[in-house]
Amino acid sequence: MQMVNETGWKPKIVAFCCNWCSYAGADLAGSGRLSYPADIKIIRVPCSCRVNPLFILRAFERGADGVILCGCHPGDCHYTSGNYYARRRMTMLFSMLDYLGIERGRTRVEWVSAAEGAKFSATMNDFAKTITELGENRKLGDLRCKK
């Protein structure tokens, strides 16, 4: 299954997943054979609070159409409070990105526990659908990087 719009364009989506909850949730989605689009590629980070806003800016600069950050549920962070930091940072960043013309729908924070394989898959399907509907991201892209 892949998301394709009428012109045959396929989105590029980066998912940052914390090692303890969401990455394990993705593994669980895999072992449960709960599919989601191949356009989503996961980057493993120790904690959602490791995700520097710069990483997300870089992704858009290099041609990503959507970025999603997944962490442990509030209160469940392996490092006690990392997801709270992430949540606050992303709130700031996303409003700035919105100001820069990158639609709110292109960025998202989700809490997925290690037990929520189904939620991981559903979240990714939904996010991919949103990005496909939004179409190609033309803002922030660095043309020099284009092949």
Binding site: M1, A29, S31, K41, I42, I43, P46, R50, Y79
Partner: protein, 664 residues
């Protein structure tokens, strides 16, 4: 330039059925740095690992990428493989092409394309990997137990049993804690002192256990394996080595105004006292607030009667500094003060008592010598009303009480009711309850026995008002089953008050950087899988400090905490996770932001000479203690100057992955 080998696993048909593994191996062959690529049926098998090791030797590889299952499955395996072939184990990256690819996609072309991208991302990350060395730190083989109740005693006994030294620091003059104040224990009704005091004696006689009573932990620094604690042992004005515990002084002391804390202030004690007959250490202590000699300089009677010459009015606080490998928090609880809930009349009536006060009134060593007499006039109560859930299960963030269930009240109320009915069959006993919660071995049977065999009147409802009228307490409450309001003329009212963490818990938590919940209970590292450890390495939790518990649960947890301590102290060195934060001193501007976000207190600031191109000055810079850092990375993002980075997940590594995935 690195020499990278890429190994694509088939995982039988798990990967190979959906991903063209040969195409993947082929596609990455020309990636910068890649000098070797191969595919094999089972990379994790002995043969597969040998294939990797041979390639490392043959092609002088500096790093490997394994395209296989989740790193959560076999990263450790392949790191060991690499290490045995002489490669740094942290020069291994895994591309997860099973859980994240072959298992969730059906179209082979699409899955193969994705697998190639994942492999390339891993290669890009590996190009930025640097060899990491896991550090080691020494372990001091001594344990500190804060709190000498049943939880602390049990943990200490179990740790000492394994051969390690344990210090118990207890704030009161004796160990024993709350359990020592109890009369009988549910559901077996054995006497608390009979089962506790032998344990106290055992602790005092154990060579490995050192009891530091009448003391508090004042400061803690260091980290797992090597904590340093400062303990203030308060002056008790009695030489512990000389006092024989004969208690002659306590009977002669003319001051009688001090409230007897052990009896919940229901009677008075002398200024020099031994909390109770089985106290450990069995040594007297002088309360400086009450002592006539210490306050006025006159008296000195205790010194005169002490044949051992143990009294020392000039004794001063003593500071003890000691190192520990592990710290156990066993700070216990206290009942809340029900005065603010004065619809129950506690503040105005001596005969409205808390359950712990009731324990003392029933106890043979209590103020009434075990005969149940009410405090106001010393008469036998003929009607007793018990009220459950006083200050428990209240709306959060209100003054009404605690939001949690205190867990032990249903059972001890059943116990009290049963004991009263057994000793004084002519006494009527009513219990107002919201729910009776009895999940525990033989607990519900116990409660039913109270109702069925002992005729305790259980009323489903709550009391709204307790008012003194003559020498009676008029109890007005609801009986929801009968749908009526009941009015009971009682002689005594017993409040099953909520329990809360000991007031010292919060400051101890702060001192240890151990996290606590909003109710000041210590938080466990994982609510299910690591229930006796604090998220802060080297700190362990025992007993009610972590949450309400009865005695069997407390003892079980105390033992579990001990086994974790033993597991730690059994090691000579701790291998530390090398994926920790590191500060670039040249870039650090000394702003302290990272220090504030670190949940472990791993970052400190030092004045240091910084040398670099064109720089040579003494500056305030951040320093990460790699033994304490857990590698979450919160500091790396907070750092405004980009000085802080996380080894193994560095900015460069993650950006390389982003670039590889997003390549136009």
């Amino acid at each position: 330039m690195q020499k990278i080998g890429v190994f694509v696993c088939w995982c039988g048909s798990n990967i190979a059925a959906t991903v063209d593994v040969e195409a993947v191996a082929e596609a990455v062959k020309n990636e910068p740095g890649v000098v070797f690529s191969a595919n094999y049926q089972y990379m994790c098998s002995a043969a597969g690992q040998k294939l990797i090791q041979d390639a490392i030797h043959e092609h002088h590889l500096t790093g490997i990428v394994v395209c296989s299952c989740s790193p959560r499955m076999h990263e450790a395996t392949f790191r060991k493989t690499a290490e045995s072939a002489g490669l740094n184990p942290y020069m291994v990256e895994i591309a997860n092409i099973r859980e994240q690819c072959s298992w969730i996609h059906k179209d082979k072309e699409e899955a193969t394309a994705k697998a190639i991208v994942l492999a390339k991302a891993a290669i890009s990350k590996l190009r930025n990997d640097t060899p990491l060395q896991a550090g080691t730190s020494a372990v001091t083989k001594r344990c500190l137990v804060i709190g000498g109740g049943i939880a602390g005693i049990q943990t200490a006994l179990d740790v000492a049993d394994a051969g390690y030294e344990v210090d118990i620091v207890e704030q009161r003059p004796t160990i024993g804690g709350r359990m020592a104040q109890l009369d009988k224990t549910f559901p077996t009704l054995d006497c608390a002192a009979c089962i506790l005091t032998p344990k106290m004696v055992e602790a005092s006689q154990n060579e490995k256990i050192n009891i530091i009573s009448y003391a508090k932990v004042e400061k803690v620094s260091g980290f797992v394996g090597s904590f340093k604690a400062t303990i203030r042992k308060k002056a008790r004005f009695v030489d512990e080595t000389k006092c024989t515990g004969c208690s002659l002084c306590t009977t002669k002391c003319p001051s009688r105004k001090g409230k007897n804390e052990f009896n919940m202030n229901l009677d008075n004690r002398g200024a020099i006292y031994i909390p109770f007959a089985q106290a450990i250490p069995n040594v007297a202590v002088i309360d400086p607030e009450q002592c006539i000699k210490l306050k006025t300089g006159k008296c000195g009677l205790c010194e005169k009667v002490c044949s051992a010459g143990a009294i020392n009015y000039k004794q001063e606080d003593e500071l003890i500094e000691r190192e520990y490998g592990a710290i156990v928090v066993a700070t216990g609880f206290k009942p809340i003060d029900p005065s603010p809930l004065n619809e129950f009349g506690y503040a105005d009536n001596a005969d409205v008592v808390t359950s712990l006060e009731f324990e003392r009134l029933m106890n043979a060593a209590g103020p009434t010598k075990g005969t149940l007499l009410r405090p106001s006039d010393g008469k036998h109560p003929k009607t007793i009303v018990f009220i459950q859930c006083v200050g428990s299960r209240c709306e959060e963030n209100t003054k009404r009480g605690k939001p949690y269930c205190s867990k032990i009240c249903c059972m001890y109320t059943a116990k009290h009711a049963m004991l009263v009915r057994e000793k004084y069959p002519d006494t009527d006993v009513h219990v107002f309850y919201i729910d009776v919660r009895t999940p525990g071995k033989n607990f519900d049977e116990f409660y039913r026995r109270a109702a069925e065999q002992y005729g305790v009147d259980y009323i489903k409802g709550m009391v709204g008002k307790v008012a003194k009228e003559g020498d009676k307490l008029m109890v007005q409450g609801s009986d929801l089953i009968n749908n009526e309001q009941v009015h009971i003329a009682a002689d005594m009212v017993v409040l099953a008050t909520a329990i809360e963490p000991d007031p010292t818990a919060r400051s101890i938590g702060t001192m240890l950087t151990a996290s606590m919940d909003t109710n000041d209970f210590f938080t466990e590292a994982h609510p299910k899988l690591r229930p006796v450890e604090s998220p802060t390495a080297g700190i362990f939790l025992s007993g009610v400090a972590q949450g309400p518990k009865d005695i069997p649960e407390t003892v079980a947890q105390a033992g579990a905490a001990a086994s974790k301590v033993i597991g730690l102290l059994a090691k000579d060195h701790l291998v530390t996770n090398p994926c920790v934060a590191q500060s670039n001193e040249l870039m650090c501007n000394g702003c302290s932001q990272c220090e504030k976000v670190c949940p472990y207190g791993a970052i400190t600031y030092v004045e240091k000479e910084v040398r670099g191109p064109g720089v040579r000055e003494v500056r305030r810079v951040a320093q990460v203690n790699p033994a304490v850092c857990q590698g979450c990375g919160a500091c790396t993002v907070t750092c405004p100057s980009g000085a802080m980075d996380l080894k193994g997940f560095s900015n460069k590594q993650i950006l390389a992955e982003v670039d590889a995935i997003c390549r136009w």
